[in-house]
């Protein structure tokens, strides 16, 4: 489809991992079910 709009977003897996490790999740927002058991 030649009409598809493409926007590039800056992304670096290395930086993403560093930022992700720093990120503190809000425990109150966690889902209560266990995702792994659905695999």
């Amino acid at each position: 489809n030649q009409n598809v709009k493409i926007v590039q977003i800056p992304f670096s897996m290395e930086n993403f991992k560093k930022n992700f490790e720093k990120h503190k999740f809000d425990l109150e927002q966690k889902d209560e079910f266990c995702l792994i058991h659905n695999l």
Binding site: N1, N3, V4, K5, I6, V7, Q8, I9, P10, F11, S12, M13, N15, F16, K17, N19, F20, H23, F25, D26, L27, Q29, K30, D31, F33, C34, L35, I36, H37, N38, L39
Partner: protein
């Protein structure tokens, strides 16, 4: 953004759209229409944005009334409806560098949100399973959802749902995990519905993924804050703007606390 017409906000607004006649998608569109609440739609269509209370909550005025709106729930519904209405017509948010699904899955499994325990087996094995599983779905994901996975098993593209909005990428690892665990891949309609819901949750404005220096416009944290619009700007000028024209709120939003009336001017005169 201000100069664009509201109807041109979604990336699918191109001259030659693909016409979707899949019964499953048409049925999901009918369901959105059937549960729509006209009064709420009129309120969102004509609202004046007052301000963000937090990433989760914002204030808006309509006529003589002041409302507290749950941005998280409204944005989740907005993105779900765009995913269903613009099905197979999205633009692409192309990552400047591929994101290996294995690494994303490992990050998700390391997070308490995944619920992983030792009884589930080694994380590496689960991550490899997720990569192989999603690679098998890559053709459909790219064709219908602009969710692009390359042959090496890396994510290279995400759907462009509304212009000038990039989902908070901190939610990407859990999104990838949930694609493998929470989507019903066996039935067509349920597959599109659950996949769209997972995608909508990932794209929504959530307090756990939006901090003070977030932008919601794809800027990395090493970019000077002055060169990027802060998340509050994006919520007001992109997300709430889209609520005006692209969201048909379901009736339950008026009953479950998503839309709360705080004050009504005639009543305040009495006070």
């Amino acid at each position: 953004v201000e100069g664009d017409s509201q109807k041109e906000m979604t990336a699918a607004c191109t001259p030659r759209r693909r016409i979707i006649n899949l019964t499953s998608v048409l049925s999901l569109r009918e369901e959105i229409n059937a549960r729509g609440h006209e009064t709420l739609r009129e309120m969102l269509h004509g609202h004046s944005f007052v301000g963000c209370v937090s990433p989760q909550w914002a204030l808006a005025q309509h006529q003589t009334k002041l409302y507290l709106l749950n941005t998280t729930r409204l944005s989740e519904e907005l993105f779900y409806q765009i995913l269903i209405y613009d099905f197979a017509n999205f633009g692409v948010l192309r990552l400047s560098e591929p994101a290996p699904l294995f690494d994303l899955a490992m990050l998700a499994l390391d997070s308490p949100e995944s619920g992983w325990t030792e009884e589930d087996g080694p994380k590496e094995g689960l991550a490899e399973y997720i990569v192989e599983f999603l690679k098998k779905k890559a053709e459909m994901l790219a064709d219908y959802f602009s969710l692009e996975i390359d042959e090496e098993g890396s994510l290279i593209g995400l759907p462009l749902l509304i212009d000038n909005y990039v989902p908070p990428l901190e939610g990407l690892p859990i999104f990838i995990l949930r694609l493998a665990t929470e989507v019903n891949w066996d039935e067509e309609k349920e597959c599109f519905e659950t996949l769209s819901k997972e995608c909508a949750t990932f794209y929504s404005v959530r307090k756990q993924y939006v901090c003070e220096d977030s932008t919601l416009s794809g800027q990395q944290s090493d970019v000077p804050a002055s060169s990027a619009n802060p998340w509050k700007w994006t919520v007001e000028h992109v997300v709430y703007k889209a609520f005006r024209s692209h969201l048909l709120p379901p009736e339950h939003f008026s009953e479950d606390g998503t839309v709360l009336q705080l004050a009504n001017l005639p009543d305040l005169y009495k006070v």
